[in-house]
């Protein structure tokens, strides 16, 4: 009986780790798409108006960093599920 409980406990730990990994991976998909959209549109803007490249790149960098915050939230959930 105790062996069974120990096995179930191990299985739960394993499932928790799998869930954390899956959650982190899924949370990174949206920001990946978002960064693609941000950079794609920034490149279009730079091609249309090369003289405003500096301004576009400033906005692009901040946009990338804000989008990345979503992936970092997934990362934080991964940390909390795995280690807390």
């Amino acid at each position: 009986m105790i062996d069974l409980l120990a096995q179930a406990d191990n299985a739960l730990d394993g499932l928790k780790a799998v869930g954390a990994g899956l959650g982190y991976g899924l949370a990174a998909i949206g920001p990946g798409v978002g960064i693609g959209l941000v950079v794609g549109n920034a490149i279009t803007a730079m091609a249309r108006q090369p003289e405003s490249a500096g301004m576009v790149r400033t906005t692009m960098f901040l946009g990338i960093a804000f989008t990345e915050a979503l992936a970092l939230i997934g990362f934080v959930v991964f940390i909390l599920l795995n280690f807390a």
């Binding site: 950079v39 500096g54 906005t59 960098f61 901040l62 804000f66």
Partner: protein, 160 residues
């Protein structure tokens, strides 16, 4: 015709080399972050003890390194071409996430690791620094005459 195209492309390259705003944004953010970090570390020490202090310091270091790496990679790619910029943005995103994961897993093997202060520090410092920087960037992008230092000078003149 081809001469014109070459002239145009060399102009674009010059412009690309001149315009490297990522460096200035990140140095600005790092300066602000370094100013605020002692207060944040003191709060961490009060709430979570020495382990919390070490984890918060590690989290701050990770976020600073993340910003520096992103800026350096984008600046480097921007000098090459826009296609390289696209690669750097997406490839850099994956690389930085991998770096953060490896760094946190490595840190978790150390005795001073505290997950909650580390998690809170990562989110708060990343978003806080970005929002703080955006405030200045948005003002200077939309109305270059409204930069905080220039506004202060103008107000002083008007008062006089």
């Amino acid at each position: 015709m081809s001469d014109k195209v070459e002239e145009r492309s060399s102009d674009l390259q010059d412009l690309g080399q001149l315009a490297e705003p990522e460096k200035s944004i990140v140095s600005d953010m790092l300066l602000r972050g370094l100013k605020v970090s002692p207060a944040w570390l003191a709060l961490s020490l009060v709430f979570w003890g020495v382990n919390g202090l070490a984890s918060s310091a590690y989290g701050l270091g990770l976020i600073f390194a993340n910003f520096v790496f992103a800026a350096a990679f984008l600046t480097w790619a921007g000098r090459i071409s826009v296609a390289a910029l696209m690669f750097a943005a997406l490839g850099g995103f994956i690389l930085r996430l991998a770096f953060l994961t490896v760094a946190v897993i490595a840190f978790s093997k150390i005795g001073v690791f505290a997950p909650i202060p580390l998690a809170i520090t990562i989110i708060v410092s990343h978003l806080g620094l970005l929002v703080w920087e955006t405030r200045y960037v948005s003002i200077s992008l939309a109305y270059p005459g409204l930069r905080p230092s220039q506004m202060r000078q103008r107000n002083r003149k008007e008062i006089k």
